[in-house]
């Protein structure tokens, strides 16, 4: 029997538009992209030029400060564009698929039989290394480190999050191979976080892991929260995390010797006509997923990811590298007469100041409207209710605002990344940009302490 950890703080936001448990084949996209902006703190160095032919698994760029870490094309085809933003920062490297499905060939091997160095080399060469994320800071792992443990959360508790049980079932072999490969990278254990409820079919029988079960509300599925309760990160320690679908991708690499970037995406949200799952390829152009599938009645906001942590995208942008979800909600760029004063039967709120709190079962349409202006911190103990960790979030944020590195460290900045505090930002009465403040703090830590 595995340990069950019960968390009391948190909130399940009752958003309309949960995906039906049906997986459809998405139409193949014409273009695919790898976006350096998906990797916080990355300075990319290009390895291709427009016009170059690439295969799936061919490197497109590498990290200037960790030159071993390469980022690979998910499909075979031709590099058609390198889109840049302000100060010529690279935003997207776009590959047009040629449909030939040509793969770079890597070593095919049972990961258990490989040494740590071999596993590392395989992951680095194939461009799969960036799937491994390091805590603290939530950045791509440093290949020269040996983490104290590796954590995989097998469920996502965010609003309308995909059900990984559905996505991974049938790929248990790949998942196990991925876990075995990761296990070679640490002296500690590979930890799986599972929900306490349900059969957890594809995961429960996984070998070579330590399983911990969790119950509670969002952010219970966040790997950071799970780490905090299983083996919290102290100063100087490194822990790695990998998303569930990425474990499968890693497993596939070792079983087939190919970077096979197929994954399943949940298309969700109140503006989606028929929310469900689609099989596609990492980095796919979103237009194939979105075209004709949304209501088009109001201004729509497209989010690659969930409503709390995702990135705002345009309809013809590309899927995020780590993403397993696309959400469409109304933009909500309208004025509302006496909006703050109405009883609010249709307004979901974490506070109990709207009549909606009398209807706990209802699901709501929520827009991207700020619902108020930004203020100083006024209310207290509001954030603690949504962070099931022994951390004082407001004090941590204030230490970041005043740029006090010692205090940030003492108050636990190593243990959190944006997603862990996203609910605080959602619920904040003062509309403070919690996630962007936290990232500022993390950037300062990386710059000052490395």
């Amino acid at each position: 029997m595995s340990k069950i950890i019960k968390l009391r703080s948190g909130l399940n936001i009752k958003l309309k538009g949960k995906a039906d448990e049906v997986i459809e084949e998405a139409q193949a996209a014409r273009t695919y992209a790898v976006k350096p902006t998906d990797f916080p703190g990355l300075t990319p160095k290009l390895m291709v030029k427009v016009g170059h032919e690439v295969k799936a698994g061919s490197p497109l760029f590498f990290d200037k400060y960790k030159p071993d870490v390469m980022f690979a094309s998910p499909v075979s085809g031709k590099v058609v564009a390198i889109n840049r933003g302000e100060r010529r920062r690279i935003l997207e490297v776009v590959v047009e698929a040629d449909g030939s499905n040509a793969f770079e060939e890597f070593k095919k091997a049972e990961p258990k039989s490989l040494s740590r160095e071999d596993v590392k080399e395989e992951l680095l060469k194939s461009g799969l290394w960036p799937l491994i994320i390091q805590r603290p800071y939530g950045v791509v792992a440093q290949p020269t480190d040996t983490p104290k443990a590796i954590f995989v959360s097998c469920f996502d508790s965010a609003p309308l999050a995909p059900n990984y049980e559905l996505i991974v079932s049938g790929q248990e072999k790949e998942f196990q191979a991925g876990i075995d490969a990761l296990a070679q990278l640490t002296d500690g254990k590979v930890h799986l976080g599972l929900p306490a409820a349900g059969a957890n079919k594809p995961f429960a029988a996984t070998k070579n892991v330590e399983i911990t079960q969790f119950t509670g509300k969002h952010p219970v599925g966040n790997v950071g929260v799970q780490i905090h309760h299983v083996s919290p990160i102290n100063k100087g320690e490194r822990v790695w995390t990998v998303n569930v679908q990425d474990v499968v991708t890693i497993g596939r690499l070792f079983l087939t010797g190919k970077y096979d970037a197929r994954k399943v995406i949940a298309l969700t949200g109140s503006e989606v006509k028929a929310p469900r799952y689609y099989r596609t390829i990492a980095g796919a152009n979103l237009s194939v997923l979105l075209e004709g599938k949304t209501n088009q009645e109001v201004n729509e906001r497209y989010i690659s990811g969930n409503v709390l942590t995702g990135t705002k995208v345009e309809k013809d942008n590309y899927l995020s590298h780590y993403g397993s979800q696309v959400t469409v909600i109304p933009e909500g760029d309208e004025h509302e007469f006496f909006g703050w004063a109405l009883p609010g039967v249709n307004k979901f709120s974490a506070s109990k100041t709207f009549l909606s709190s009398l209807f706990p079962k209802k699901e709501y349409t929520m827009t991207a409207n700020m619902n108020g202006g930004e203020r100083a911190f006024v209310l207290s103990e509001q954030y603690e209710k949504f962070l099931p960790m022994d951390i004082l979030p407001v004090f941590l944020l204030k230490s970041i605002i005043v740029n006090d590195i010692d205090k940030m460290e003492q108050l636990g900045i190593y243990e959190v990344i944006e997603e862990d505090l996203a609910l605080c930002e959602y619920a904040c009465t003062s509309k403070i940009e919690v996630q962007s403040i936290l990232r500022q703090g993390i950037n300062v830590m990386i710059k000052e302490l490395g």
Binding site: G310, G344, S349, S351, N369, N371, G373, E384
Partner: protein
């Protein structure tokens, strides 16, 4: 709605940068966001935001204050007609109307002066008008005696907003509760208008009081050794006192609203009462005079204790901000309030000073709670190392 919206949209350009009326843009924006929720959408971070905002929060507190305000108005009339011996001849609405007309000017002056200064500061700083004063503006009249001259209300409000709040940076930054700063200012600057036996009941010029009338509050009487309080009237609130503080019943209704909506901290309310009860019982045990022997629970229904515990101690900006800190803060506040009341010979009321003192110490309490969290984290690191 549409017409109003169009009107605002038409007016907007002249308030924007470069427009003729740009100097009033904060005021314009304040009114615009009062009428219409803004259409801004999230630019970074979470894509959805809770519907609650500071306007909503503050309006809940004002709702919670309505029972105490209405009752205070009624009580002003009730005390007045009681003092001149005409209570029997007056109907309910006459009594209320008398009090309403006495209290309304104080409220108007408080809001007028306070919001005027807030608007000016918002404009100077170029930020949005913040909603903090919406609550302070009603709290200030409620902690005043009814006979306070209006110019004093104006001066005290100006002092509270400028020295008590804006010098620290505005809403969310202040150290002391602004409404209590207003009261404390008058208390020390014009003590004869803020204490004694003659300020709590409006008699009116040319009116004669009935024989045996005393305008003293039950607390002042208790301090003088007359501890036979009419408990029922003190609970309902038909006793002399500051405008909004007398009715424990009306305040309890407010407390229910604050706790049910989660806006007011029940931890502070509970721990303040607990602190007062413990101190009261200790004083009872070692009583050497009549006031010390006053049953501990009777302290809760006289003076400003209930009002302070529910509406002032719980001000989230000036109270402790951590969970454990709130328990300590509230408990010490209750202890101090009763000690100042009973042991100090100068003034019979201790709630105002206790809250201001604990406001001062709240950051210190939080500091130690935060240090506790830090130590726990350090200990964890050294055990593992």
């Amino acid at each position: 709605m549409k017409a109003l919206r169009n009107l605002i949209d038409n007016m907007k350009p002249s308030f924007e940068k470069g427009g003729k009326l740009h100097m009033f843009h904060s005021v314009f924006e304040g009114f615009e966001t009062f009428l219409f929720n803004p259409d801004t959408t999230s630019k970074s971070g979470t894509h959805i935001h809770d519907h609650i905002d500071l306007k909503r929060t503050m309006s809940i507190v004002i709702m919670a204050l309505i029972p105490a305000t209405l009752f205070g108005m009624y009580n002003v009339g009730y005390q007045h007609f009681g003092a001149i011996g005409e209570l029997a001849g007056q109907g309910f609405f006459d009594i209320f109307l008398f009090g309403f007309l006495k209290v309304l000017p104080i409220i108007i002056v408080s809001y007028g002066v306070g919001l005027g200064i807030e608007f000016a500061f918002a404009q100077m700083r170029g930020h949005e008008i913040q909603e903090g004063f919406l609550v302070s503006g009603i709290l200030i009249p409620l902690v005043m005696p009814v006979d306070v001259p209006l110019w004093m209300v104006a001066v005290a409000t100006a002092f509270a907003v400028i020295i008590g709040k804006e010098v620290f940076g505005g809403t969310g930054m202040n150290i002391w509760n602004p409404a209590l700063i207003a009261r404390a200012f008058l208390f020390f600057a014009y003590p004869s208008y803020m204490s004694g036996d003659s300020v709590w009941v409006n008699i009116g010029e040319g009116q004669k009081v009935v024989d045996g009338f005393s305008g003293a509050t039950p607390m002042a009487l208790a301090a003088a050794g007359k501890t036979d309080i009419d408990v029922w009237n003190a609970f309902i609130g038909l006793i002399p006192g500051s405008i909004g503080e007398t009715s424990t019943l009306a305040i309890l209704i407010g407390a229910v609203v604050l706790i049910a909506t989660g806006i007011g901290s029940w931890k502070i309310m509970v721990s303040t009462v607990a602190g007062a009860m413990v101190t009261g019982l200790l004083l009872n045990a070692f009583a050497v005079n009549a006031y010390m022997a006053l049953p501990a629970w009777e302290h809760l229904i006289i003076g400003g204790f209930a009002f302070g515990a529910v509406f002032m101690a719980t001000d989230p900006v000036t109270a402790s901000q951590t969970s454990r800190g709130k328990w300590i803060y509230g408990f010490l506040l209750g202890v101090l309030a009763i000690i100042i009341r009973v042991v100090n010979p100068a003034y019979p009321e201790g709630m105002m000073l206790a809250i201001l003192l604990m406001n001062t110490f709240a950051p210190l309490i939080d500091h130690y709670v935060v240090q506790g969290n830090i130590k726990k984290r350090l200990k964890r690191a050294s055990v593992n190392a």
